[in-house]
Amino acid sequence: MDYFLELFVGGLTRGSIYALIALGYTMVYGIIQLINFAHGEIYMIGAFTALIVSSVLAMYGMEGISVLIISTVLAVMYSAAYGFTVEKIAYKPLRQAPRLSPLISAIGMSIFLQNYVLLAQTSDFLPFPSLIPEIDLPERYQHIIGSSELVIVSVTALVMIGLTIFIKFTKIGKAMRATAQDRSMAMLLGVNVNRVISNTFILGSALAAIGGVLIASHVGRINFYIGFIAGIKAFTTAVLGGIGSIPGAVLGGLVLGWTESFATGYISSDYEDVFSFVLLVVILIFKPTGLLGKTLVQKV
């Protein structure tokens, strides 16, 4: 039973992170129907920024929770700025182009960012300091849930609630939903669509950075390549839940997290990534719209 609970919590933790990254995919896809391949790289850059900032702070003698806060805030800011810039360079000029063009441009951007970090930093795995403070849990539960897992799950839950409120009630959120529903109609009603798209990229990238910092301090090491696999898995999450749907991303994250956790726990740990890809293929074949997605009618 304990083993089961351990896997359950492990799946929940993974799933939360996947959901955080998947939100960026889902929101961008909802608005401009583009798979932002560079999104995984934004997450990686977030983790790297946090690593660099926290190491610099640690060397100047800072400690404790303030390091966590400063490095997370900077990571979020930098990731948001990267997301914004990537959109301006690689996607904005291609608004009217055929659908394949921005997709290829996104792949190019992803390769570019990966190698940019590889060349500017290093190709080795870097140890990531554990920024999350230890929380005293009752001894009974310590081997089932660690403090970092607890923090990850609760932060994700908070972020999700915050995001839902943001999308539902603020002016920017309403503009985003309007643009996702019908871009040209939103434009006619005076929504600045370009700004809405920029905002979406900024918001999605910021969420990815939070995910990046959390997972990096949970796993304890990062390199330039972490964004690639995380990106694919987050995409799987988004598709699983129904791309374009925010609750879908959360649901998809949990399903994927548990699938991976239980499959590696009970079947084999060698094929961890294979399970998620197989799940992706199966979902796309049997329910291409995802668990909570709406059926889209293709128009001429």
Binding site: I52, A81, T85, A90, G108, F112, D273, V281
Partner: protein, 408 residues
């Protein structure tokens, strides 16, 4: 006036990039010795570089916008290559010269050069194969390398277990890749373009992970070594002779591919692919079976990858899963994009540039992938049709018909 605002904007852009790249470009932490390295020189480089790039970007953008307005009246500037192709008087001598150069090449240069050339031609063929899928049919396949791996492993395993020779393995590898293409294509081709991209990417990774982990089948990460080189009626070749032999096999395969792709492009199914790429719904309304047509493109593209996979295994005599990463797929895709989607000549040119340049500019080989990435973005933004855009076959009216049209 215009120039001053341009420079001002570019200065702002470079300031933005200095800020943006500050933590990653300037700071490097050494977590083992606990030292921070400040690389201020990089900051200057980023500033200057982004300033110049921003000016170039602005200029290109302006030119593109201006070009977009003028083009209807402006007489089309025909690129030199196409002009040569269209005039038989120039084409035949050019082809003969190229043929002689290719035939003499392996005997005049070292084995090293010959091997590089073989790689380049292999990528030409791979590019042409992917060109069927991406360029003609418009299906973004990011797992192309999986079929390449299928071909390579089928030869390696057949050779290891049953001592099967190269010439028998070549069609078998192609056939296996073809079947893999159909097997994968059948379920996923109903998906829309971007989903297809991700699923093929996932499939490529699955194949690589299985090859890496299934030790009993594929010998895991250590791979398979001592694969036989291609034989020629039982004659034993030295290393140099074998390289030359493979070189000519590749030239032959390349010619065969060009012939087939060229014929395919103008055939009924080729035109169906192009129509499908341009507008799926209109295409279905014209009575084209979407699934069958797509499947044909997918499987045919895979066949070529499988064939080249066999040649690859025979050339290197050693394969392991590390040769079949996503980066290979990305390089092949980059070749197709850079060359111009759907253009045979462009793909050939791009493959030769992308493979030969990094080989001869060894000092810059670290920067190869970053340049590839940047190229893909810039090509899409400024020249989506590629280096040499694919020509459409046009039916030209002769003078009499034209006169008839003018005054009926």
């Amino acid at each position: 006036m215009n120039i001053i605002t341009g420079i001002k904007d570019s200065l702002l852009v470079s300031l933005w990039f200095i800020l943006l790249t500050f933590p990653i470009m300037v700071i490097r932490v050494n977590t083992i010795e606990n030292v921070v390295e400040w690389r201020w020189r990089n900051m200057l480089l980023v500033g200057a570089g982004s300033f110049i790039l921003s000016l170039v970007w602005r200029y290109l953008h302006k030119r593109k916008e201006a070009g977009g307005q003028e083009s209807p009246d402006e007489p089309e500037t025909v690129p030199l290559v196409r002009r040569i192709l269209d005039t038989p008087r120039l084409l035949i001598p050019a082809l003969i010269a190229l043929g002689i150069a290719l035939a003499v090449f392996p005997f005049t240069f070292s084995v090293y050069q010959v091997n590089i050339m073989i790689t380049a031609i292999m990528f030409v063929v791979l590019g042409l194969g992917l060109n069927i899928v991406v360029g003609l049919a418009g299906l973004l396949d990011l797992g192309y390398v999986a079929f390449y791996a299928v071909g390579a492993y089928s030869y390696a395993l057949l050779n290891y277990h049953y001592d099967v020779g190269f010439w028998i393995a070549l069609p078998i590898g192609a056939l296996l890749a073809f079947s893999a293409g159909i097997l994968l294509g059948f379920p996923v081709l109903r998906l829309r373009g971007d989903y297809l991209a991700i699923v093929t990417l996932g499939f490529g990774e699955i194949i690589r992970l299985i090859l890496e982990n299934w030790n009993e089948f594929s010998f895991g990460p250590s791979g398979i070594s001592n694969i036989d080189r291609p034989g020629f009626f039982g004659i034993d070749f030295s290393f140099r002779e074998a390289s030359i032999y493979i070189y000519f096999i590749m030239i032959g395969l390349c010619l065969f591919t060009i012939f087939v792709v060229n014929r395919l492009e103008k055939s009924r199914i080729g035109r169906a692919w192009i129509a499908l790429r341009e507008d799926e719904i209109a295409c279905q309304a014209m009575g084209i079976d979407k699934t069958k047509t797509k499947l044909a493109a997918f499987a045919l593209g895979a066949t070529w990858a499988g064939m080249i996979g066999v040649v690859f295994a025979a050339k290197t005599t050693f394969i392991n899963p590390a040769s079949f990463t996503f980066m290979e797929s990305a390089i092949i895709l980059c070749i197709v994009v850079l060359g111009g989607m759907g253009s045979i000549l462009g793909v050939m040119l791009a493959a030769i540039i992308l493979i030969l340049l990094p080989e001869y500019l060894r000092a810059f080989s670290d920067y190869r992938m970053i340049v590839f990435g940047a190229c893909m973005v810039l090509m899409m933004v400024f020249r989506p049709q590629g280096l040499i855009s694919g020509g459409r076959s046009i039916y030209q009216l002769n003078q009499a018909q034209k006169d008839l049209q003018k005054d009926p």
